[in-house]
Structures are given as structure tokens and as C-alpha cells.
């Protein structure tokens, strides 16, 4: 097919002619859109709806993704690529014990406290520090893991629960609990404190390894009126508070942080006592040399510690359930498909309306062809109109999208993440419980004190509009305009001037 070429401009007239041609193009375009304002608005609104929906969905998805990342960070520790935990049922010293704690007595009677069958009468205070339900790993495993190829650093941690019960001759107070995290000070940028922000005092130094010092979570400090310099009693030992810290909101952080050595020294295997946890950790935090090493290091650790649970961010993310997971699924599946559906519908409507407009303007285009306009120029005119309509739709769509995002932020329900407690997380309060009956009996299940299987974490999220989403909106607007213009242009190429001129409006 022959290429349509323009008559050559007169010598020396190219520049002004082109500029003049552009001004004519713009005049024609503006007036044509003005004449078909209603149709142009319908097309633009259709595109705006689709584009606005894409922005809302992508913003919601980004918000949920950020929330997931935030949850992962807060649970997992900034800089941590892999966590290693021992399963309570395999290889754990704790799994070999079945602890029991009973308090017998009543009003007017001398209390009798029985731990694992060993009983003691009289008023007493029980204050015991024991692991939060996970199994334990030997501290020496940390060094082995640190030597694996691709591992940059490895550090240990010990998540514990301090349970205090005061029993007098007349009553037994309900048990009080707080969580204690043993922190490995050899790698202070890895593990539970890596994402913490100090609000007062100072944090641990390497020399604190064997000191009776503690950092306290700000919420716990506020609730218990603790300040820097206060004492907190852990397993009957007074520990000095040297700093107050803030962890990410919604991360359910431990209440008290102590040096790992102190935690190991004070903790026992279970509420009834048992062996010391010196030389043990329950979590090993690993950072790899690069993100591409994660899978290889994971394989090596599994080979080294076959019974351990090895958790990576991706495996952890897949284990997060609850409304956060539902929201992610909703945004990922329904939202995406809904956006695509609306966009396709908007593009189709825009294309059909443009084709219809071109058909109605057949005689106009036929006339232009008759007076010497090449098809390419007419197509350019139609494409210009379509793209302009698309851009108006894009601008409206961005406005609609931002409004939609604001509404979503206003009405969005609070999300929660439900996380398996054996997933190697560093924080979290188990859904298990310690109960005290009317007679003051406290029963703790086998395998450790807190036998819950999941933990629920509130997640704060907000839809997040990114520049990429705005860029996508503009791109979609142009694509929508071009697509509808292309359909119209196809109609123009089919028009024979003679047929077009024969049309009756």
C-alpha cells in the first residue's frame, strides 16, 4: 500500500508552517471536543472510574503490603533474614518434662504449694522465669550457623515469661506475668532490639553482658510506673532499668529486655524449676550476606539442625492469617480483577463511542480527504482528541482515586494478623493462659507454661498512594486514549472519500 505523503512545504516555510499546523490542530481539537463535550465527558468519566479504581486498589494493596512488611519487621527484626527455632516436641530439653504447679488451701487454712509433686506449706512468693513455649537450642549452634557460607552474622535470643504469685496465709493473689526477652549483646543490630527506638536512658553495651540491667518497653513502663533507674524484679532478682524503648506499634513486644546471659542464668526449664537454661537460646537470628543467599543458607541450616524450624520472611508471610491476610487476598485477587474489568469496560466504551463518533463524522473526514488531507493527518487529529479525553479521564481518575483512598482510610476496618506461635517469631504473647482457680490452683500445661498455637496482632494500615500508581494512572489514560483513538482511526482508514461524501447526516 502506498504511503500517504504531504505536499512539500514551500521553501523556507517549514518552521512557521509546522507551528501554524500545530495551532490549527489544537484549534480543531479544542472545538471538536467542545462540540462533543457530553460524549467526551462520558468517555473521560468511564476512564476516570477505571483509573480511580486502579489507584484505590493499588493503594490498598500497597497499604496492606506495607502493613505485612511492618508486621514482619516487628516480628522478625530489621536486618534478620532467617530465624531458627527448635520445635518443643523435638530435641528440646523442655519437651522431656511435664511440669505441674498446684496451690491448695482456702480461707483460714495454711496454703500448700506443690511443684511437680514437691509440696511446701506456708506463705510464700513464687517468681519463676521460664521459656514461652518454644524449644531451646544450644548456644553453640549459633557459632556453627555463623560459619555457614552466605551467613553474615548470627545471634541468639531467649523469650521468657516471668510469673509471680504471692500466697499469704489468708489468700493467693492472682498470678501476674510479664514477658522477658534475653538479648544477645554480641550482635546488637540483629534480633529483638534491632527495630527498637530508645525513648529515654541508654541501651545495652557489650559490658552489660553479665549485669543485672534491663530495658523496658514504653507501654509496660507506663502501666507499671517504671522509669530509668527503677528496679524490676525478674525471677526474684532486682534488675535496674537503664532505658525505655519503643517498638513498632502493634508488634506486641516483650515487656522487659535483659542481657542474654542474665536471662539464661535466671530462667528455668519450667514453672516448677527444672534445669537451668544457661547455654541455651530459643531463637537464632541470622542475617545473610545478600538476599539471594537466603534459600541456600536455609538449606544449610536445615541440614545442620534437621529438627529445627527455619523461618524466612516469605515463609512467615505465608503463615500470617487473620484479616490482614484476607485484606491482602482481597486486594490482590478481587481488587485486581475488578480493576481490570472496569478498565476493560471503560476502554471498550471509549473505543465504541469514538468509533461511533468517527462514523458520524464520516462526511467531515471524507470532505477533508477530498480537499487533500492525508489519512495520517486525520488519524492524528482523532488520536489527539482521544488522548486528550484520556488525559482528562486520567486527571479525573487520579482525583477520584485519591478521594477513594481517603474514604478507604476513613472506613477501613482495623486489621489483625494471626501468626503461628511456633513460627520463630521473636515477639508475641501467646494465646495460652495461666489460670488460677477459686482455691488458688494454678495449672500449667505440659511442654511448658504457655501451650497456645497462635497469636493475634493488631495491624495498623493505611492505603498508600505511590508515585508509581500515579504514573500507572497516566499511562492507562494515554493507553485508553490511544486504544479508543486507534479504533476510530481504523474506521477512518476504511473510509473511502467517495462513500464518506455520499453519507447523509
Amino acid at each position: 500500500m502506498a504511503v500517504d505523503t504531504e505536499v512539500q512545504p514551500a521553501p523556507g516555510s517549514g518552521g512557521p508552517a509546522q507551528a501554524g499546523g500545530r495551532s490549527f490542530f489544537l484549534r480543531y481539537l479544542g472545538r471538536e471536543l467542545g462540540r462533543r463535550a457530553r460524549q467526551a465527558i462520558v468517555i473521560a468519566l468511564g476512564l476516570a472510574l477505571g483509573i480511580g479504581l486502579v489507584i484505590v486498589v493499588s493503594a490498598a494493596a500497597a497499604g496492606v503490603k506495607n502493613a505485612q512488611a511492618s508486621v514482619l519487621h516487628s516480628l522478625y527484626g530489621v536486618g534478620t533474614d532467617i530465624t531458627v527455632t527448635a520445635s518443643p516436641s523435638a530435641g528440646s530439653a523442655l519437651s522431656k518434662h511435664n511440669f505441674s504447679l498446684q496451690i491448695q488451701g482456702g480461707p483460714g487454712q495454711t496454703p500448700k504449694v506443690c511443684v511437680n509433686g514437691k509440696c511446701k506449706s506456708g506463705a510464700q512468693t513464687i517468681d519463676q522465669l521460664f521459656p514461652a513455649g518454644k524449644g531451646v537450642l544450644s548456644y553453640s549452634e549459633i557459632a556453627k550457623i555463623a560459619r555457614l557460607a552466605g551467613v553474615k552474622a548470627a545471634a541468639g535470643g531467649l523469650a521468657l515469661t516471668d510469673t509471680q504469685i504471692s500466697i499469704s496465709s489468708t489468700s493467693a493473689s492472682p498470678p501476674t506475668q510479664f514477658t522477658v526477652q534475653g538479648v544477645d549483646l554480641t550482635h546488637d543490630n540483629l534480633g529483638p532490639l534491632s527495630a527498637a527506638a530508645l525513648s529515654s536512658g541508654h541501651t545495652f553495651t557489650r559490658s552489660d553482658q553479665n549485669s543485672d540491667v534491663a530495658l523496658v518497653d514504653a507501654d509496660y513502663a507506663r502501666a507499671n510506673d517504671l522509669k530509668v533507674g527503677s528496679d524490676v524484679t525478674v525471677a526474684k532478682v532486682k534488675v535496674k532499668v537503664i532505658g525505655i524503648i519503643n517498638q513498632a506499634e502493634g508488634s506486641s513486644p516483650p515487656d522487659v529486655y535483659v542481657p542474654l546471659a542474665l536471662a539464661q542464668r535466671l530462667a528455668t526449664e519450667g514453672p516448677g524449676g527444672g534445669g537451668s537454661l544457661a547455654g541455651y537460646v530459643d531463637t537464632i537470628y541470622v542475617t545473610t550476606a545478600s538476599s539471594t543467599d537466603i534459600s541456600a543458607v536455609t538449606r544449610q541450616i536445615k541440614a545442620l539442625l534437621p529438627s529445627a524450624t527455619v523461618t524466612t520472611p516469605s515463609s512467615l508471610a505465608s503463615e500470617i492469617n487473620g484479616s490482614l491476610g484476607s485484606a491482602a487476598k482481597l486486594a490482590g485477587d478481587l481488587g485486581t480483577w475488578l480493576s481490570i474489568l472496569v478498565l476493560v469496560a471503560a476502554f471498550a466504551v471509549a473505543g465504541l463511542l469514538t468509533m461511533s463518533a468517527v462514523s458520524r463524522r464520516a462526511r467531515e473526514f471524507g470532505t477533508l480527504k477530498a480537499i487533500g488531507w492525508r489519512s495520517r493527518r486525520i488519524i492524528g487529529q482523532v488520536l489527539g482528541e482521544s488522548v486528550t479525553t484520556g488525559l482528562v479521564g486520567g486527571a479525573l481518575g487520579i482525583g477520584l482515586g485519591l478521594a477513594g483512598v481517603a474514604i478507604v482510610d476513613k472506613i477501613a476496618p482495623k486489621l489483625t494478623a494471626i501468626i503461628p506461635s511456633d513460627s520463630g517469631l521473636r515477639f508475641g504473647q501467646s494465646s495460652g493462659h495461666v489460670g488460677a482457680g477459686p482455691a488458688g490452683a494454678v495449672a500449667v500445661g505440659p511442654g511448658g507454661a504457655l501451650g497456645g498455637t497462635t497469636q493475634t496482632i493488631p495491624v495498623h494500615w493505611s492505603a498508600s498512594v505511590t508515585l508509581a500508581a500515579i504514573g500507572l494512572a497516566v499511562l492507562l489514560a494515554i493507553v485508553g486514549g490511544l486504544l479508543s483513538g486507534a479504533l476510530g482511526s481504523w474506521r477512518i482508514t476504511q473510509l473511502r472519500p467517495a462513500d464518506a461524501l455520499a453519507r447523509v447526516d
Binding site: V3, P9, P16, A17, A19, R35, T367, A370, L501
Partner: protein, 251 residues
């Protein structure tokens, strides 16, 4: 000069083949004015479209200045139309969103003429049809006669050698028809155009140098001498090559 040799144009309508133009042989010298008269549907407009390169014959050749329009590439025909052929239509065919001046200027866009020159020529063209004061008006703000004047200005602004007019007075009342025909006649004289005018009105056809009848696709030359009143001796000199004796019209 146009030379049509054995030109036939057939249309397919369903299962039937309809001949719009049948075996037409015709020569139109430069500067001539030929009126083609006939009833609706007998092939007048098709003949005009063949002359303008808007349509191609099913068989035969349409030559313009020795160039077979059927053999030219589409781009070349477009270029020819842009530079040398002006069209005037029965329904004016103005772009409704453009002003009178913009409609006229549209004919200069394909020629790549500088903006200032376009504006000047547009103003001159509108002036020549007596519509300088309507340059900023939209077609909907003009009467039928004024719209046709704009269309004539659009056809002539590029200074073509050929003007093809398809029922230019078909949508006008009697007074306006007279005005438009007088204007066309004046411009034909001034610009030395070759003009082919299709009409079904005898009074309009009667103004031409030559009149041909089109019936069922066949062309027959009816007259080759202009009636005296339309070319008063006192008026401007007739452009060369406009006498009937120089024109050959094999029927």
C-alpha cells in the same frame, strides 16, 4: 485537461451489478466549463468523483494533464487534490466546529503554507466571496448561501486549476442560487479555472459553456455554445481556451 477514455464504473449492490457510469469518452480542455445535467441517480456525482480522483473507474482511464488518475498512488492523488482540485458540494460540507476562516484555512493545511500566508490567503478568499465580516462565524451561524460561499472560498483559496462542483445550488433558494452561480461564473473567469458542474437544474446548467446530459450512466453532449446573455462583451476578457470550438466532446 481531462481525457476520459471508455470510463465505466460499476457498483456491486448485493447480487446485482449496477453501472453508475457507462463507457464515457470525454475531453475537457483547460479553462472550459462543462455542466453535467441529469436526474438523481444517473451517475453525475460518480463522474465528478472520478474526475476528482475520489473514486476509480472499473474500466477505462481518467487522465488529468496526461496522468492516469487510476494509476497514481493514493498519496499522489491526495497531493493532486490538495494542490490542483477544488470541490464544492451540494450540502456545503463545512466542518461544523470550525469558523468560516478556519474552514477555508483547512484547505491550505496540506500544502504546508506558513501561517501568516495562510491567514492572508484565507482573508482574500473570504473577501472574494463577500464574507470578510463573517470570518469568525461558525457554519451554524451562516445562511445556506453564506455557507456555500465559504465552501467556494475553501475550494479556491489554494488556487486550483480545476473546480468540481456537485449540485452547488441544490440546497439553496432561487435568489441565493442566482447569487452563487454569478459568483462561480465570476471566479471561473477570474481564475481561469476548468470547471465541471453537476446539476439537475436546467437554468444552472444553461450558464455553462457546454452542457452534457447524463442518463443511466451514459453521457451525451447537448450543447457546445454558450447563450449570449451570460458573457456580455463588455465584461472581462474570457480566459484563453474557453471557446466551444476548442472543445471536443465525443458522445
Amino acid at each position: 485537461m481531462y481525457t476520459l477514455t471508455n470510463v465505466t464504473r460499476l457498483y456491486q449492490k448485493g447480487r446485482h451489478t449496477v453501472p453508475a457510469v457507462r463507457d464515457v469518452n470525454l475531453q475537457i480542455p483547460d479553462g472550459d466549463w462543462l455542466a453535467v445535467q441529469g436526474r438523481t441517480g444517473h451517475g453525475k456525482s460518480t463522474l465528478l468523483q472520478l474526475l476528482g480522483g475520489l473514486d476509480h473507474p472499473t474500466s477505462g482511464t481518467v487522465e488529468m494533464d496526461g496522468r492516469d488518475l487510476g494509476r497514481l498512488r493514493e498519496a499522489e492523488v491526495t497531493r493532486l487534490r490538495a494542490a490542483s482540485i477544488g470541490f464544492v458540494f451540494q450540502t456545503f460540507n463545512l466542518v461544523p466546529t470550525l469558523t468560516a476562516a478556519d474552514n477555508v484555512e483547512a484547505a491550505l493545511i496540506p500544502l504546508g503554507i506558513a501561517w501568516a500566508e495562510r491567514r492572508r490567503r484565507t482573508a482574500d478568499a473570504l473577501d472574494s466571496v463577500g464574507l470578510s465580516d463573517r470570518a469568525r462565524h461558525l457554519p451554524s451561524e451562516l445562511s445556506g448561501g453564506q455557507q456555500q460561499r465559504v465552501a467556494i472560498a475553501r475550494a479556491l483559496v489554494k488556487e486550483p486549476t480545476v473546480l468540481l462542483a456537485d449540485e452547488p445550488t441544490g440546497n439553496l433558494d432561487e435568489d441565493t442560487r442566482e447569487d452563487i452561480m454569478a459568483l462561480l461564473e465570476k471566479l471561473w473567469r477570474q481564475h481561469g479555472l476548468t470547471m465541471v458542474l453537476v446539476t439537475h437544474e436546467t437554468s444552472v446548467a444553461g450558464r455553462a459553456l457546454h452542457v452534457a446530459d447524463m442518463s443511466k450512466g451514459r453521457l451525451t453532449i447537448r450543447s457546445s455554445a454558450p447563450p449570449p446573455p451570460r458573457f456580455p462583451a463588455s465584461s472581462e476578457p474570457r480566459p484563453s481556451g474557453r471557446t466551444g470550438s476548442e472543445t471536443s466532446y465525443p458522445a
